[in-house]
């Protein structure tokens, strides 16, 4: 039984998501591990065993305690002003001093009571309009009431979280754009999908969630291996990984041209172990630093320090330590273990290659930091006819190029370049309006459907029905000329 739906309980070792006022943070559930979230610190120990979705209050000593439903205490006859003509900002309306408030906090008085005291000691509160009073209370509650909700990770939550916290890690793929990709790609149980992403494994996780463990996924990866930091946050059950395959991008050309053999791969486990010993993670370090400089410039620099990155680093260090210990011991058992691992990796690679060679995938999803045309043109070779494909790019221009190249290639129809806009609303009695800020950009998508490619006749498409898709240059000239 999969414990993923509502009603699932928080277990030690889970990856949980903390939520407070629309702010999310993914954390591992560990005992005696201090968590800092939204200027509060606490331990998750007491949350273990509770149902996901429970809201907790942070009590003294950083302990969590399920929040009790409180009856509204403000039932007393409400007094309120009608406008602010007589409200003067003299900075003296709050009778409690900074020290008074600190003293209250130090005494361990509940946030709710502090808010009540602030209201009672505000000389202008009663003159404020009802709406202004409401706003005042909300603001103070946010500051003094220490609550946190622990929720089960999902694509909704993780994609919202990533977009808000570290958009650079996911190429600024906004959650509504990801939602479009999943729908346009007709991702569902039982399909065989090809996924090429450099979005920390978020897109892969989203695809895995929609496939529910049915079907297979081949993840194409650049460099030394696929990044799945975000994927691991989903907390998928083990069987979901049985049919998750990976294949290195650098072997795609050889696979397409038929020169791919596993001979080019580490064949002899012993020999390979030696090679790895010599390189000793040094080259790996070089590689990652190189990748980082290649990544986007200055603006993203601040994003580099973040929980997932730290985690990655920690994992790497842990491996290093392990490795050194192994070396010291010269333990044969470990060598044997390594051989088995190597052999399993090779077996998986052969499996992935075989899956790709069938050229019958049910779809292709691309969302990476790389120039998309070459990816698209080669990976589409592995997709069956009459199947959707979706390419994400943070920028529109590379997708224009994709569009042109695909039209030259043929074998695709219903090409569509699109973008979605997302607008959030404040809905309150007599105070409804769009939220003040909206996201400026969530990326662009190029989608289409594969069809059987007419070999040798690809040029004839120009005189056939599809020509209407791209208007004659004559027509656009007319349109663009000033009238």
């Amino acid at each position: 039984a999969m414990e993923s739906g509502p009603g699932a309980r928080i277990r030690e070792g889970d990856c949980a998501v903390l939520r407070r006022d629309g702010v999310f943070k993914a954390v591992p559930v560990l005992r005696r591990r201090k968590i800092i979230f939204e200027k509060q610190w606490f331990y998750l120990d007491n949350a273990i065993g509770h149902i996901y979705g429970t809201t907790f209050e942070v009590t003294s000593g950083g302990n969590l305690q399920p929040k009790q439903e409180v009856e509204e205490t403000t039932t007393e006859t409400k007094e309120a002003g009608t406008d602010n003509r007589n409200i003067v900002d003299d900075g003296k309306s709050q009778k409690l001093t900074h020290d008074d408030i600190k003293a209250l906090k130090d005494k361990g008085i509940k946030g709710q009571e502090i808010v009540q005291q602030l209201i009672e000691n505000s000389t202008t509160f009663r003159d404020k309009t009802e709406f202004a009073q409401d706003k005042y209370i909300k603001k103070k509650k946010k500051k003094y009431e220490a609550v946190v909700t622990i929720v089960k990770p999902s694509t909704r939550i993780l994609s919202t979280m990533y977009y808000a916290r570290e958009p650079g890690k996911i190429n600024h793929l906004r959650y509504d754009t990801l939602a479009q990709m999943l729908t346009l790609g007709n991702i569902h149980a039982g399909t065989k999908m090809i996924v090429m992403e450099t979005c920390a494994g978020l897109v892969l996780g989203a695809v895995m969630e929609r496939m529910g463990g049915y079907g297979s996924i081949i993840q194409m990866y650049p460099g030394g291996g696929p990044v799945r930091a975000a994927t691991s946050c989903f907390g998928f059950p083990k069987p979901f990984f049985d049919n998750l395959h990976e294949f290195p991008l650098s072997k795609v050309q050889s696979l397409l041209s038929g020169t791919f053999t596993t001979e080019t791969l580490p064949a002899d486990p012993e020999e390979n172990a030696l090679v790895e010993e010599e390189s000793n993670g040094l080259t790996e370090e070089k590689q990652t630093s190189l990748q980082e400089t290649e990544e986007e410039p200055t603006t993203e620099a601040a994003m580099e320090i973040n929980p997932t990155e730290e985690q990655d680093m920690m994992d790497m260090n842990a491996e290093d330590v392990e490795f050194k210990e192994n070396k010291e011991k010269e333990n044969k058992e470990n060598v044997r273990e390594k051989q088995i691992k190597q052999w399993e990796r090779r077996k998986k690679l052969i499996e992935a290659a075989a899956l790709l060679r069938e050229k019958n995938a049910d779809g292709l999803i691309v969302a990476s930091k790389f120039h998309p045309p070459p990816l698209l043109l080669s990976l589409l070779e592995f997709v069956a006819p009459s199947r959707p494909f979706v390419v994400y790019c943070q920028y529109k221009e590379p997708l224009l190029e994709c569009y042109t190249k695909l039209r030259e290639r043929g074998g695709v129809i219903n090409l569509k370049l699109s973008e979605t806009w997302l607008r959030n609303y404040q809905v309150l009695p007599d105070r409804s309006h769009p939220k003040l800020t909206m996201s400026g950009g969530g990326g662009y998508l190029l989608s289409g459907i594969t069809v059987i490619l007419d070999k040798g006749k690809s040029d004839s498409s120009k005189s056939e029905p599809l020509k209407t898709e791209e208007p004659l240059s004559k027509r656009c000239k007319l349109q663009e000329l000033p009238c």
Partner: protein, 306 residues
């Protein structure tokens, strides 16, 4: 074929999409002995369709040709017979993600309408989930049942012909998610709550008018829903065009051709403007927004029962 399982070849009884180019397409029910008329001529199902691969090019009687596509909920949405106003894929995609739907999810929906969203929901919750859809209009309910049968998904959906505001969804404590697209959703929030699992779940309501949203939000709050959030999603589609802009004549063309030299040094380079001195134009690729676009479909209000 079925809407939840890809098949390779076209079979008798399938629903297929005939693609004529430039978003011009329609759905056909494949039947032995039947013919379909297109502007390129006749398609004979027995010889032109049955046994062919999906994605094939089919030559029609007048020599023109079309592509035959495997049905998907998205293609169905673009080609289904409208019995009501329908939801399109842009809204559907965010609804699906925000309701956290996946294989195994139990969903309640009302009204069924033309079944545009229903097909997408069924696709996502298959093979182990279920859709309970409620439609108060009898003919529409029956028509939806018929389509689900034809599309091979009847085992994944239950259509109930009743008024959701009065009688609810006909199930209680089993749903992971509820979707409402009815004129007065606030009257169904109580029923939605009882349809959802005791442990909780997600709800979404679609309304075109802000006044409807207002009342719905109040009802959601009253019934203890949390995380109430209203949003709107808009699709912008771009036509990919090669644009030519005329170079203005400033009376110095003869002496100053530095810009032309710069551009012609790399004329094949994609994306960068390319000057053509003979024609006196600069050419470039652009994504041009459509002249008229959908500016509003509806507000989507999401909330959590916990």
């Amino acid at each position: 074929m079925s809407f939840v399982e890809y098949g390779d070849t076209i079979k008798d009884g399938d629903t297929a999409i005939v693609f004529l180019g430039h978003e011009s397409m329609f759905a056909v029910k494949v039947q032995h002995g039947t013919v379909t008329q297109t502007k390129y001529g006749v398609i004979r199902h027995s010889t032109d369709l049955i046994g062919k691969k999906y994605g094939s090019k089919v030559t029609c009687s007048k020599g023109g040709w079309v592509f035959i596509l495997h049905p998907t909920p998205e293609l169905w949405t673009m080609n289904l017979p409208h019995r009501t106003q329908i939801l399109y894929s842009t809204d559907i995609s965010i609804i699906t993600m925000m309701l956290e739907l996946k294989p195994g999810s139990i969903v309640c929906e009302s009204g069924t309408g033309s079944g545009s969203l229903s097909h997408a929901l069924i696709r996502t919750v298959a093979p182990t989930g279920h859709l309970y859809t409620v439609e108060f209009h009898q003919q529409r309910a029956e028509k939806a049942r018929e389509e689900f049968r034809e599309h091979g998904v009847e085992h994944l959906v239950t259509v109930t012909n009743q008024d959701v505001c009065k009688n609810g969804f006909g199930v209680s404590n089993i749903a992971d998610a509820v979707f409402l697209d009815i004129p007065s959703p606030w009257e169904a929030i109580g029923h939605a709550k009882s349809a959802l699992k005791a442990e909780g779940g997600r709800i979404c309501s679609f309304s075109p008018c802000i006044e409807q949203v207002q009342r719905t939000c109040l009802a959601m709050e009253e019934y203890g829903f949390t995380e109430i959030n209203t949003l709107e999603i808009l699709l912008r589609v771009y036509n990919v065009r090669t644009i030519s802009l005329q170079i203005p004549d400033l009376g110095e063309a003869a002496e100053d051709n530095s810009s032309a030299v710069f551009d012609s040094s790399n004329p094949s380079h994609q994306g960068s403007p390319c000057a053509n001195l003979q024609q006196g134009t600069v050419q470039f690729k652009s994504g041009v927004p459509l002249r008229e676009v959908v500016g509003h479909t509806g507000y989507l209000t999401f909330a959590t029962k916990s």
